[in-house]
């Protein structure tokens, strides 16, 4: 039973990111994994090994696409070449939904390859929502936008981050990929209560959740995806699941990647939280 109308994949379970260092293990051992999340841009090519590998994965596993450079929040129009390639990939993977970040990263055709923070203004919300709607029309697949970790806030902002997220998803009528680690990182960097954030987002729009580890520096926290998930983030996750209901969850581990088994075991820690509402009869 879907937890909400943007979450038709409540039973998807726990996924992990498909990463090159794990290819050999996956093809040799064929481990049972609920689903793999791929970085769309890694497979938006015309041929060769990336697509051959993807096809082998698709024979055995469910795959969900996650993008890093659609840049819904860039003021410039969507990149048509990017969309064309993305659409081709969507047809190949048959991804049930597609996510990318609520951020910007390009201007006047120049790309930063980073997830740059949005100014939380009504103008930015309208532009972003319009681009999400346009992308959905072209790609013909549900879209979820992900909150990013941020290290800067702008004078011109007119609302909080979670109010901005709500503005965008309501105007675009799209889903949310809720990254609880990013909520935690940003709450520490910008001194807000992460539970205020979780309690304010529309639970009925959360299509997927991300969990991850991060790195702590002297003056700020950086979203590095190179550590296990810390306890405060698990607590946030538990709270989110209680509010939202069982939701497809993915562990991100992108740097200093340990063995497949270690990553998978870390991801499966989420099971006890996902199963808790069902056990409680919620």
């Amino acid at each position: 039973m879907p937890a909400n109308r943007f979450n038709g994949f409540t039973d998807y379970g726990i996924g992990i990111g498909l990463r090159i260092p794990h290819y050999a293990h996956i093809f040799e051992k064929k481990p049972a994994v609920d689903w793999f999340e791929i970085i769309s841009e890694n497979y938006m090519v015309d041929g060769g090994r990336p697509l051959a590998t993807l096809d082998l994965i698709l024979e055995r596993y469910r795959v969900v696409q996650h993008g890093v450079s659609t840049y819904f929040g860039s003021a410039e129009p969507l990149n048509r070449e990017h969309l064309r390639r993305l659409r081709t990939l969507v047809k190949r993977t048959k991804t049930p939904w597609l996510s990318d970040h609520l951020c910007w990263g390009s201007v006047d055709g120049t790309y930063s390859h980073d997830l740059l923070p949005m100014p939380y203004t009504f103008e930015a919300a309208e532009i972003t929502a319009r681009k999400v709607r346009e992308a959905r029309d072209v790609l013909e697949v549900p879209i979820a936008v992900e909150n990013v970790s941020s290290y800067a806030e702008f004078h011109m902002s007119e609302m909080t981050e979670w109010e901005f997220l709500n503005e965008v998803v309501e105007r675009a009528d799209c889903g949310i990929l809720l990254d609880v680690n990013n909520v935690y990182v940003s709450s520490r960097n910008h001194d807000f209560d992460p539970y205020d954030y979780l309690n304010s987002i529309p639970a009925g729009r959360v299509a997927q959740i991300h969990i991850a580890g991060h790195s702590k520096f002297q003056k700020y926290i950086l979203d590095t995806h190179d550590h296990p998930v810390i306890d405060p983030v698990w607590k946030l996750y538990e709270h989110a699941i209680r509010r939202i209901g069982p939701t497809a969850t993915l562990l991100e581990w992108d740097d200093s990647i340990p063995s497949f088994d270690e990553v998978h075991a870390e991801a499966r820690k989420a099971e006890k939280y996902i199963q808790a509402p069902a056990k409680a009869g919620l």
Partner: protein, 301 residues
Amino acid sequence: MTLLELQRRMMKAVMQPLTSSGRITPKTEDGRLMKIEAAEFIKQNGGLTSLECLEIYSRSYWYRALDSLFDDFPGLRAVLGRRAFQRLSRAYLADCPSQSFTLRNLGARLAGWLQRRPRYAGKTFSLALDMVRLEWAHIEAFDSASEKALGHEDLIELGPDLRVGLQPYIRLLEFEFPVDRLLIQLNRDSDGHAEASNTVLKQKHAGLVRRVIRLIPERTHLAVHRIDSVVYYRRLAAQEFRILDALRDGQPVGDAIQYGFEKSTASIDEQRLLLETWFAAWAELGWLCPPARLKKDEVTA
């Protein structure tokens, strides 16, 4: 300030080259203090100043882009040495920031840029340029499209007026130096790095420098291609290279062959033997395909 104005302003600041110690530059392009520029649009944030917030993004941008070039051009790194490679990378990125949604394309303009900025390669310019072209071709051969290959049976009916295409992933290159051999050797060396001690690595580095210095020019014709998703380098005879080049340009087979042997001293019999060998090899490797915009039946009918 509009969204577009903010994004232009921040992007410009983020992409301003870092100082030699890897910090955000203290001044903007037009000479203003960067900390004043940052404070005008970024809030001071807990323990971080506006400039420090901006610096996180600037460093992140530069290190990501520099790492990408570092990974994509190991051969160029070896030819230039680490410091010169860093200088070149920073200058290239300042002149040619990414214009693609994917970092895969970051080095696409490097060869053209280096031709206009030979001083960044100094005395090794020709060798460096050859290496850049080879390494970019490798990237393209790795994940470019492939078409259904024409087999031996398709080639039986091939006449002089017909056209065939070359697989889109194949890159044909002509070099002054035998950079293919150098790059293969470098890759072999780096394969052993994970298990080598520091002493061994120093010896290998010295050996590498000697190999680069001693590399003697040798006109080289190369096809960068792939088999079963693995990229290979195949040496070509000059005439073979010219024929393939002409076929790729859409010339009829007869014209391509004539062009290939234009400057050749080989006899007709020798040419026939070479052609039989080459076409058989190309078919075996799956290099030939229907020409672009033509259906297969138009090729062999």
